[in-house]
């Protein structure tokens, strides 16, 4: 391992230390044994955590049973049902988010190299004024989009460029939003919404909020279940609780077969 910035006179020492440090390898049998033990322990812990989540839910349901004695049965049933609907995601929230984010990122990593152009139609309402705009980014024949992890890169004439939100040249910075979504998902807590069909495609609904300098932004993404491509974004900007701007962006993609 060569460290940039090291003085030349200590480079040989650094090489020696790196060499010595790699001269040690764990015993493969111990390594395999420990792996087995850990996976077994993982199962035990998962079972305990699941049971704990169920117990928490059941204790709430037990509490509600008392309500059935004094409230009309229909009201009690509605309350129990709503508690189950709200209670279940509490137990599986973070893992589900991570799984959905990972699935979208994987799908997008497969799809991105096939995208050659896209059209973004933006409708903005700010106060009483409306604005419509259309952006048509197009890649040249030597350009292609790729993902590594949750980051999008443009390969162009032998050079890699990382796509960041600052790459935008369109109203509201929405032209590259589909490419920066995986990174946004890994850095923001987001809520999953029930899926819906857009342009005949089944989508995942995702929503996250962020606040910057007193302004709150709520972004809702509808993402094609199969390709990971964003089909629709709705963004609401609020200040002091009041809506100051609404953006809606529709996406259409041109892809190689």
């Amino acid at each position: 391992m060569h460290d940039k910035g090291l003085d030349p006179d200590v480079l040989s020492v650094a090489d020696t230390i790196a060499d010595l440090s790699r001269g040690v390898e764990p015993d493969p049998r111990s390594r395999a044994r420990l792996r087995q033990e850990l996976l077994r322990r993982h199962q035990e812990l998962s079972a305990v955590r699941t049971q704990r989540a169920v117990d928490t839910l059941m204790s709430r349901l037990t509490g509600l049973k008392r309500l059935t004695l004094v409230a009309p049965p229909a009201l009690a049933a509605a309350l129990i049902l709503s508690l189950m609907v709200w209670g279940l995601p509490i137990a599986g929230h973070a893992p589900t988010q991570a799984a959905v984010a990972a699935r979208i990122t994987r799908a997008l990593a497969r799809t991105a190299p096939t995208v050659t152009a896209w059209q973004v139609t933006i409708n903005r309402r700010r106060g009483d004024s409306d604005l419509s705009a259309q952006c048509n980014p197009k890649l040249t024949s030597g350009q292609r989009l790729y993902f590594r992890g949750d980051r999008a890169y443009l390969w162009s004439s032998g050079t890699w460029y990382q796509i960041t939100p600052s790459a935008s040249q369109c109203v509201g910075g929405l032209d590259w939003a589909f490419a920066t979504l995986p990174s946004s998902l890994s850095h923001n807590r987001f809520a999953l919404l029930p899926g819906r069909t857009i342009d005949g495609r089944q989508t995942d609904g995702l929503r996250y909020e962020m606040t910057r300098k007193g302004t709150q932004y709520t972004s809702t993404f509808w993402v094609d279940h199969g390709t990971g491509l964003v089909l629709l974004i709705r963004r609401v900007e609020r200040r002091a609780g009041n809506v100051v701007e609404r953006d809606t962006a529709h996406y259409h993609y041109t892809r190689t077969t």
């Binding site: 391992m1 460290d3 910035g5 090291l6 003085d7 200590v10 040989s12 020492v13 650094a14 020696t16 230390i17 010595l20 440090s21 790699r22 001269g23 040690v24 390898e25 764990p26 015993d27 111990s30 390594r31 420990l34 792996r35 033990e37 850990l38 996976l39 322990r41 993982h42 199962q43 812990l45 998962s46 955590r49 599986g92 973070a94 893992p95 988010q97 991570a98 799984a99 984010a101 990972a102 990122t105 980014p137 890649l139 350009q143 590594r148 992890g149 949750d150 980051r151 443009l154 162009s156 050079t159 460029y161 990382q162 960041t164 600052s166 790459a167 935008s168 040249q169 990174s183 890994s186």
Partner: protein, 191 residues
Amino acid sequence: MEDAIESRAFTGGRDHEADDALLAEAARTNASAFGELYERYHARVYRYVFHRVGNAADAEDITAVVFMKALEALPSFQSRRSGFAPWLFRISRNSVVDHYRRGRRQDPIEDMEHQSPDADPLHHALGNERRSELHALVYDLSPDQRDVILLRFAADLSFSEIATILKKKEPAVRMLLHRGLRKLKAVMDDA
């Protein structure tokens, strides 16, 4: 289009960090995701621990403790506060400290000094098995220098990851590495 896009070296380091964080999130409920993290980090943790304690038996025990602790603490891991690697190696570092604090086993270098008080520890170490050499070499460094060198070379961590573990600034970590290497060079030149 390119002008508006930030050009970056394609190092992949940050990708790997994000990938690990995602895997760690999944590993809370998914055993095979935890298995993947184990495969990625086992050798690095073992090497770091080995060179801290100087013998394979203790290194194996402590490595097992590290991964058991990590498994149990996984629900509290927050990728936004620190990456997975700094989190895991902080557990590793604390486990080594606990090992010495419990005094279960005498430091082998101290054993050597007892056997031969007049001898130079470095001379002894170089005469020993090669795999104990690094432990002997770093023994005379300050605790911070030793940590930086082992986290850098044995654990393959970046400067920013080491800075997170040691709660120091990156330039301070680089300085510690530099000074540690200079000290080692002096020892090696004298040997």
